[in-house]
Amino acid sequence: MVTLEHADIRRILPHRHPVLLVDRVLDLEPGVRIVATKTVTGSEPCYAGLDEHLPASAYAYPASLLVESFGQTGAVLWLYSAATAGERSEGTLIFGSAREVTITGSAYPGDVLRHTVEIDQLIGDNAFMRGETWVGDRRIATLGSVLAVVREGLAAGTGS
């Protein structure tokens, strides 16, 4: 069983504060499956500038960031697996496409998102993944198919 702390995750993902949205990897089976967490806190930039006296529902963690956190978790699995296999990919990591994503609940400051992601298929620089996001024993999202892509040429000359 592989576990990774935040320092390890920073070595794997190119994302940085405040958009590095994976805190810890609880379990990783290379090429197969990952379980990772991201803690939502009220001090994140997405909670800056909110009106006063809003209902509790206004503090729902944005769906866009939830999907990003899930995608980054999948990227950790993919990139760690590639490194373990001795493969090296160059280019910019981007979100290619997704299908059959349902969002059935929300997370709030203090909650811990727990993503489980499985690799369905790896084709060249494309990784097809699926999984679920949980808060405690509540499943708040199901992601039927998410495609991550490493695209070359986007960052020509920047050394990305």
């Binding site: 006063e52 769906a63 960031l65 349902t102």
Partner: protein, 144 residues
């Protein structure tokens, strides 16, 4: 500026809403700025507007429609991404143009379907998506 919901950034600059036979046509524009929140980390040596921020832009455009159509207490929550795909990347200085056709249904709780095509300022298709959103009416408690 302040807002009434948690969001990574102000993801639309202008929103235009017009009635359409089955619902509404929503068009929105967002100019990509490297100084926007979160972009400094995406990525440190090469800034690119994250795909999920295009999703956020579309969501915020539909939030504008929901409050115009149903009042300031109405909230449009993302319920499903039926499909989403990204083509041309958006970099600082680019303009994102959103064209969204909304279909309203009379279900309770009300759900709307959004078919969306997004273009970059140079005309390239940057993203398309089909979404479902749930319109919650919180008349009374949603007012700041």
């Amino acid at each position: 500026m302040s807002r009434r919901f948690a969001a990574p950034l102000t993801a639309v600059d202008t929103v235009d809403i017009a009635d359409a036979p089955a619902g509404a046509r929503v068009e929105a524009v967002k100019r990509i700025a490297g100084e926007d929140p979160y972009l400094v980390g995406h990525y440190p040596d090469f800034t690119i507007y994250p795909g999920v921020f295009t999703l956020e832009s579309v969501h915020q455009a539909i939030r504008h429609w929901a409050t115009e159509r149903h009042g300031p207490g109405a909230v449009a929550e993302l319920a499903a991404i039926t499909s989403i795909s990204f083509a041309a990347p958006l970099l600082p200085g680019d303009t994102l143009r959103i064209g969204c056709d909304l279909t309203e249904r009379d279900d309770t709780p009300a759900t709307v379907r959004a078919k969306v095509r997004c273009h970059r300022g140079d005309g390239a298709l940057s993203a398309r998506m089909t979404l479902e959103l749930r319109i919650d009416r919180r008349d009374g408690d949603g007012h700041a």
